[in-house]
Structure formats: C-alpha cells, structure tokens
Symmetry: C2
Subunit: 336 residues, 2 copies
C-alpha cells in the first residue's frame, strides 16, 4: 500500500478565529505540501480540480508543474480531472507537458465530479455525463496512443483531422485512473474499461467500498486483467501525539469542512464529528491511525492510499506537523 497525499484545495476560514489566508497563500501551501510529501517519503501527491467555488484549484497541471520543479521522485496526479467538462486535446497537452517536465511522474485520475451544475458552463449536458466521459476518454486515449495522427469525430467536441498533439507523454498511454465507486454500475464501467480504480474522497466508511472493490477485482480477473486491477482509496486524516490532542485540534476544522463540502454537494446533513471519525475519517494518535490504516489495508487491499490533511482552514503549520508525525510514526508501522 503506497502512501500519498491528496489536496482538494478548499479555501475556508480557520473556524477558530474566522480568518482566511489569501488565495495566493493557500495555493502556496498546497505546493509546499507536495514538496514536503516527497521529503517525508510519500509516493504520490494528488490535486483536485474544481470550478467556480471555494475549492480554488481549477488548474491542477499548473499547480503540479510547480511541485514537479522542486521534487524528483514523487508521482504527481490530478484527482480528479473533470474530463467531461474539458477539451481532451487541451488535457492531453497540459498533462503531457507536466509529464515531460517531471521526468515521467505524471498520472491522472479522471472523473465526473461533484457539480453537475458546472457542466453547462463548459457547454456540456450533465444528463449526458457518462456518454461525454466515455467519448472524451476514448479520444484522450487515442491522442496519447502510438497510432498518430488522429482523425476523429464525435458528439461532444468538434472533429479532428489528422492531428498529433504535442508534446508526447513519456508512456503510451500514461497511467489513467478512473475516479469511481459510488455504485456497482459505476465500478462495473471502470472494470469494463480495464482501468485502475480510485475510490471517492467523500465521507463514506471503508466498509461501504469492500463489496465494490471485490466486484471490480472479479471483473478485471475474469477479463484477464488481474494484473492491471489497481485500487486507490482516500481518507481525511489527522494525527497528533495523543488521541485527545488530535480530536480537540481537528474537530472544528473537520466539522467546518464537512458541513461546507456537503452544502457544495447539495447534501443536507448535520455534521457529527464523532460519527465522522468513527468511520469515514481518521483521527487519533499514531497508534490509532496506524491501526485504522492497517484495517483499511486488510479490508480493501488498496495499492495506493491518499491522505487528505489540509482541510477546513487548518493552518499550514498544523498540516506540516501532522504530515511529519504521520511520516515519523505511522509510516514505519505500516511498513513493518
């Protein structure tokens, strides 16, 4: 189970004093977290994409290029790239450029996102999200294949007449995960495409994914792709020297974030911190956090686990401290 970080880029005030850092400082902190992640031994840094709201990362390849320039080993991914809303040609260009600048460390998680209301702003119909995703994924795959130039036409983008997008990525094609896992149907779609599966970064319990992951692996195996059946999962996570310290530190930030994130997703729900950290999120001492991650490891056998550390206005110094403690006292327990 490789360990990584995921930043979704929410830009919320610190709920303890209501103050909010500038957007520039928030983006800076995300880059610094990526650099720190490599220093601390994480294997992957992933960045979420959102539009038109207080998740302020709308251009993951630009942020990832900054991280790439100060790192040399860590893999760099979006999570997720909202492919149905974007032009696959521009996505291919942006991510291939990132790939070459980073020495081949680019990966990508593709998904439909949480905001169907944003489809219209990009000229797309949310009712066609699956069809749009399928068509654009097929085009992106073709643009990155060894078979060039590409002549193509489809429903959700204008036609292409013998074009080869430049630059070319290091691998043909690069590793593209599918962000999915809300239903049997969606997992089935991923497996039928033979793609790696990245589970959502929302507040569901790992147990909720167990059956879906089993289904995914079964379909992959039955179609002779067992060796390509990669699974990634995510947890909102906070670790401090003591259980009590972790809880009192994190409570206002997690509650503030979860409340806001639910509203963004159109979910009406009273946030219950104790219920959140009892399953969907992970909070505690290094021993407690390790135990929870080992349990996830047993339950889902993920190839990658991404921790979301920087949420709800948690100051960057606190993010750094929890990452450092995670590296010093959780990572060794998971490795042994």
């Amino acid at each position: 189970m490789e360990l990584g970080i995921l930043s979704l880029g929410d830009h919320l005030p610190d709920p303890r004093d209501g103050r909010r850092v500038s957007q520039a400082d928030r983006l800076r902190a995300i880059v610094e977290s990526g650099v720190r992640a490599e220093e601390l031994g994480f294997g992957m840094a992933a960045i979420g994409e959102h539009h038109f709201n207080d998740y302020i990362v709308s251009a993951p390849p630009v942020v990832l290029a900054a991280i790439a320039e100060r790192t040399s080993r860590i893999r760099l991914s979006s999570a997720v790239t909202l492919l149905p809303m974007l032009d696959p040609v521009r996505v291919a260009e942006d991510f291939a450029t990132l790939d070459l600048l980073s020495g081949g460390r680019m990966e990508m998680v593709i998904g439909r996102g949480i905001s169907p209301d944003h489809y219209a702003a990009f000229g797309q119909d949310p009712g066609e999200a699956h069809a749009t995703l399928d068509e654009k994924l097929a085009l992106l795959t073709a643009l990155w294949s060894g078979d060039q130039p590409v002549t193509w036409s489809g429903r959700f983008r204008g036609p292409l007449d013998a074009v080869t997008v430049q630059p070319r990525p290091t691998r043909t094609p690069p590793r593209m995960w599918m962000g999915s896992g809300m239903s049997e149907e969606s997992v089935r779609r991923v497996a039928e495409k033979g793609m790696p599966l990245m589970l959502p970064s929302i507040f569901r319990r790992p147990e909720d994914y167990a059956g879906l992951v089993t289904l995914y692996r079964e379909i992959m195996a039955s179609s002779g792709k067992a060796d390509q059946a990669l699974v990634g999962c995510c947890s909102h996570l906070h670790v401090k020297p003591t259980s009590q310290g972790a809880t009192s530190d994190w409570r206002p930030h997690l509650v503030s974030y979860a409340d806001w994130a639910n509203r963004i997703r159109g979910v009406e729900m009273k946030i219950d911190f104790d219920r959140l950290v009892d399953g969907p999120a992970i909070c505690g001492s290094p021993a407690e956090v390790s135990e929870r991650l080992l349990a996830i490891g047993e339950l889902l056998r993920p190839d990658v686990h991404l921790s979301v550390f920087d949420i709800g206005g948690l100051p960057d110094a606190e993010v750094a401290r929890t990452m450092e403690l995670f590296a010093a006292e959780v990572m060794p327990k998971l490795r042994s």
Copy 2:
C-alpha cells in the same frame, strides 16, 4: 527598454549533425533558460504557444509555473496565448493560478497565431478570427474584472450563468498585451482597445514597424491613453565575442529555423542568412549587438525588448553562453 527573453519552443535537430534532443530535454532547457534569465538580470521571460507541430510548447502556463517556482522577480508571460482557439474560462483559471503561484508576476500576450488551419481543431472558424478574438477577449476581461459573478452569452462559446472563476488574479485585470503589428488595421484595433502592443516575432526589419508604432501611439494619445501605450518588440539574436564567431556559429541554426518557420507559416522563400542578420535578426559581437539594439531603441522606443535565443537546434550550452555574454557585455552598454 526592459530586456527579456522569448522562447517559441521549436524542437528542431541540430543542423550540424542532424541530432535532436528529446522533447523532455527541450522543455527542460526552456525552463532552465527562464531561470537563467532571472539570474542574468532579464526582466521578462515569455513562452510561445503552438499546437500539433514541432513548436512543442502547447501549454505555456504549465511551463511558466515551473519557471515561477524557481524564480522570484522575473515577469512571466505567454507570447502569444492563442485566445481565439481556447476557452476564456480555462485561460482565466490557468493564468490566474500562475499569477498567484508566482506572486503576481504573470502577464499575457494575446494573439491570433500563425496557423489558421488549427482553428478547426478547436471548433473555431478562422474566417471569424477577429470576431472570435474580440468576443473572447471581452469575456476574459469580464471574468477578471471586479464585477462578479459574470452572466454572459456570445457566439463562440456557450453561455455563463452567474459564475466567478477561481482563483482570482492579483491585479484586476492583469496586464494583457495584444500581439499584433502586421498592418495599420491590426494596430488600430489594438489602440482602440487601449491595450499594450507586442510586435510579432517574425523576420521583419524594425524599420517596417516604425510607422505602425507611431500610429499606435498617436491613437492611444488622442484617446487619452498615452500613459498606457506600451510597446514590446522581439528579435532573434545571437552574440559571441567576435563578429565572425557569431556568424559561423549561428548560420546553420538560423537558416534551419527560418526555413522551417516559413514552411510552418506557409511561406515559400529561400533563406538568405546575410539578408536576415542585416535587418530582421541580430548577430554579432557585443559591440555590434548593442549598436543594433540601441538603434531599435531609438527607432521604436519600445518598453520591452524580447530576445529569441534558442532556435534551430542550438544546443542549450550555446544558448546559455550567448545569454551570459549578452548579460555581461550588452546589457551594460544599453543601460549606460
């Protein structure tokens, strides 16, 4: 006259041995040139955008973010951003992200580009290039204005219903140049928009622009915008300790580049090195190069001059040497 560099990102073989570095090495060299430019005292690093050919930079904001991460002072610009082919929403997002990551150093040159045949690949009609540019520029300006959210509809992109693009740039709006200068009509358009004027980076003599620059400044002055009348210009440039050394070094690279660039632009013309360096391009000893730049300074009184050093497969070590000599022996002459 501030001095900067411009890299157009051509990825051609070294004509002396036919060898071509990898795309990754070429992009790496462009980033290193940007970093070097700051170290040597240049004030601006600009990167060209092209698609589907051997100009391999298709994503300037991604490349500029890498340069931004290792610099602190130099201004970072596209030259040009092919706005008619792109989605202004995505352009606003990409460049604002760059702006915040770089501490407000982002600028942008907007233009129609040299390849009308690429418009179709982005679903646009090259016959409508002016109208498309005007509409998209107006939208980009609105997206970056202080007046949010934006509700908009137009001919060349789907409508927007009360959106605010995130993140927000440092300045409202950022500095946007217009890349133009091929005709009185085009210069008139720039002046009527009240925008800074960036002259083209093609092989024309500075004298060819003198009348256009005068016209631009006159229109700007007559509409009360004399203080906003900024002019930028570009030269392909090579400097060596001796005139003879500069000529023999650069000849194969400039000829190879100019020949290829003409073909890309659909221009049939035999390349004459001596004619090129007699006007459109600058090649020589530090004294000769300084004299040429001083003459351009007198003729056009530009606010910014961008040197294109890295063309036609010139090895990066040679690019570094010519930049260093330029900084050591040309810059002081221009400043005194």
